[in-house]
Amino acid sequence: MFSGRPRAVFTVLLVLVVLAAVTPFLPEYVCILLIQALIFGILAMGLDLLLGYTGLPSLGQAAYFGVGAYAVAILTTRYEFGFFPTVVLAILLSAAVAAIFGLIAIRAKGVYFLMLTLALAMVVWGLAWRWTSLTDGDNGITGIPRPELGFDLGIYINLFYFILFVFILCLGALYVLVNSPFGRSLVGIREREERMRMLGYNVWLHKYLAFIFSGIFAGIAGVLWAYYKNFVTPDDLFIDVSVEALLMVALGGPATLVGATIGAGVIVFLRNYVSIYYSGWPYILGAMYIFTILYLPEGLMGITRRLRRRAKAEKLDE
C-alpha cells in the first residue's frame, strides 16, 4: 500500500497536514485521544516492521515500551536529568534490552518466537512490579515533568504538535527503512527464508537488526507515553499492551506502516467513546480480535485494496 508509490505518500502527507491544521479547533479530549493514538501508532508501526515486513510475531513490545517509559520516569524524578540526555538514554536502554532479548528470541521460530517474546516481556513487567527500590512497585512513579523546550508542553495542543513531529520523524524513518535494500531483504526473509539464505544474505543479522529497530520505536513510544501521562505504573507494560499492539497491526493491515497507526487510532477512539456508554469494553475488544481475523484478514487497508482491485476488474470488463 504505502510502499514507494507517490500517490500513497501524498495521501498520507495530506492527512497529516489536515490533522495538524484541524486539531486546534477540536475539543481538548479529542486532542488528548489523538496524542494517545499517535503514541500507540509509533509502537504499532515498530511492531509492523517486525510482524508485517519480517514475519516475526512479537508479543513482547510492551517490554521496550515500558523500559523507555520507566527510564524517563526514573531519570527525571530521581536524577533530574534534562530532556535530551533522558531521551537518548531511555532510547538506548530500550535498544539494549531489545538487543539482549533478541539474541535469545531470534533463535526461535514461529510460535516459539511468540511465546518467548511474551515470556521475556513478563520478566520486565515482573521487575517493574517487584523491584520496588527502583520502580516503587505497584504505586508506580508519579510527577514526571513535561520537557522544557522553550514552549509550554503543559498545554495539550502544544504537546500534540510535539508528538506529531516525533511521529512524522518515526514514520519517515520507517518508510525509508522498509523501502531500503535492507527492508526489501526483510520481506524476502518473510516470504522465503531458505532462499534468502541460499542467496548469501545473513538472515540472522537481518532479523536481529529488525528486532532491535522495532524495540527502539517501542522505546520512543514509551518515552512519549511517560511524558504525556506524567506517571508510569507496571500496568503500562503488562501483556495487554503487547497484545493490543498486535491487534492494531492486524486491524490496520500488516506491512503497510500507516495501517498500524489507523489500527491504533481506531482502538484508542473506540475504547474511549465506548467506555462512556458501556462498561464492557473488553467484550468489544475481544470480539474485534475474532472479527478481524475471520472477516478482515488484510486489515482495514485491505478494504481499499480490494475496492481498487474491483474497480480495475470493472474497467477491464468495459
Binding site: V111, L118, L120, V123, G126, L246, Y283, Y289, I290, I293
Partner: protein, 287 residues
C-alpha cells in the same frame, strides 16, 4: 536446612499445578500447532466455577468434576466454531493466536461481571486442610494432594499416549499430521478430543489451584507466561518436556521468590535463556 526442604517441597507441588496447565497447552500445540492464549482463562474459569459449585452444593469433589467439564466444553466449542475454520499450517498460527486472545478478553470481562473483582478462594475440604509434621517441618496435605494429582495425571496421560490406540493416533498426528490424515484417521475428531482434554486439565488445575493461590482478575495473564516458560524450557508437544519443565519452573519460581523477592520473574529468565542458547526447541522438543 528446613528452609531448603520446605521450599523444595513448595516448588515441587507448585510444579505439579503448573503441569496440569502446561501439559494441556503442550498437547494442544503438539496435535494442532495452536498456541492457546486462552489457556490461563480456562484456569481462572475452572477456579471461579469451582467456587460457585462449592457454594451451591457444598461438595468439593463435585466442583472438581463440574468445573473441569464445563471448561472442557468451552474448549471444544472454541475449537469447533472458531479455530477449525482457520485451517492448518504455519499461515494459520498467528490468526489462531489472535482468536484465542479475543476469547481471553471476553472471558476476563465475563468473569468480572459474574463473580466480581474481589479475590476468591475455592474452599478446600477439611480432610485436605491440615499439615503433616515430619521432623519439625510442616507439609501441608493440600500441597501433597496437588503433587499427587499431577503425578496421577502424568502417568495416566503417559499410559494413554503410549499404550492405547487413540494415543498412537495422537502421536502419529504430532509427528506428521498430514500423513496421519492420509492414512484415514479422523484428525478433526482427534483434535477436538485433545482440545477438550487440554481445557479439562486447565480447568482441573484451576479448581485445585483456586484452593491454594485463589483466583482474582488478572490471574489469567499472570499464570499464562508461567505455562509458556514450562513449554519453552521443556519443549512443545512432549509430555516429558511438560513434566520436567513444570518442575524446573515450579522450583525456580518458588526459590526465586523466597531468595530474591525483588527479582522474582528474573529467576525464570535465566533457565529459559540457558536452555534456548543450547536447544532452541526446548529440552525435549523437536522442530
Amino acid at each position: 536446612m528446613s528452609f531448603w526442604i520446605e521450599q523444595t517441597f513448595a516448588g515441587l507441588s507448585y510444579g505439579g499445578l503448573l503441569f496440569l496447565l502446561a501439559s494441556g497447552l503442550s498437547l494442544i500445540f503438539g496435535v494442532m500447532r495452536i498456541i492457546n492464549m486462552a489457556h490461563g482463562s480456562y484456569f481462572i474459569l475452572g477456579a471461579y466455577i469451582g467456587v460457585t459449585v462449592v457454594e451451591v452444593t457444598g461438595s468439593w469433589l463435585l466442583a472438581l468434576l463440574l468445573a473441569s467439564l464445563a471448561v472442557a466444553i468451552l474448549g471444544i466449542f472454541m475449537h469447533r466454531y472458531f479455530l477449525r475454520v482457520l485451517g492448518h499450517g504455519v499461515a494459520a498460527e498467528l490468526p489462531q493466536v489472535m482468536i484465542t486472545v479475543g476469547f481471553l478478553f471476553i472471558i476476563q470481562q465475563a468473569s468480572i461481571d459474574i463473580w466480581g473483582g474481589d479475590p476468591m478462594i475455592v474452599k478446600v475440604p477439611s480432610y485436605l486442610d491440615w499439615s503433616l509434621e515430619i521432623g519439625g517441618i510442616f507439609f501441608p496435605v493440600y500441597r501433597i494432594f496437588m503433587l499427587a494429582v499431577a503425578c496421577v495425571m502424568a502417568v495416566a496421560l503417559w499410559l494413554g499416549l503410549e499404550k492405547t490406540r487413540a494415543g498412537a493416533m495422537v502421536r502419529a498426528s504430532v509427528d506428521d499430521s498430514e500423513m496421519t490424515r492420509g492414512l484415514g484417521i479422523n484428525t478433526e475428531r482427534l483434535s477436538m478430543a485433545i482440545f477438550g482434554l487440554g481445557a479439562f486439565l486447565a480447568g482441573l488445575g484451576g479448581v485445585i489451584g483456586g484452593g491454594f493461590i485463589g483466583v482474582y482478575p488478572g490471574l489469567d495473564f499472570q499464570i499464562l507466561p508461567l505455562a509458556f516458560a514450562v513449554v519453552i524450557i521443556g519443549g512443545l508437544g512432549t509430555l516429558r518436556g511438560a513434566a520436567f519443565g513444570s518442575l524446573i519452573v515450579g522450583l525456580m519460581d518458588t526459590f526465586g521468590k523466597a531468595l530474591f523477592p525483588e527479582l522474582s520473574y528474573f529467576t525464570l529468565f535465566a533457565p529459559m535463556a540457558i536452555v534456548l542458547a543450547i536447544k532452541p526447541t526446548g529440552l525435549f522438543g523437536r522442530a
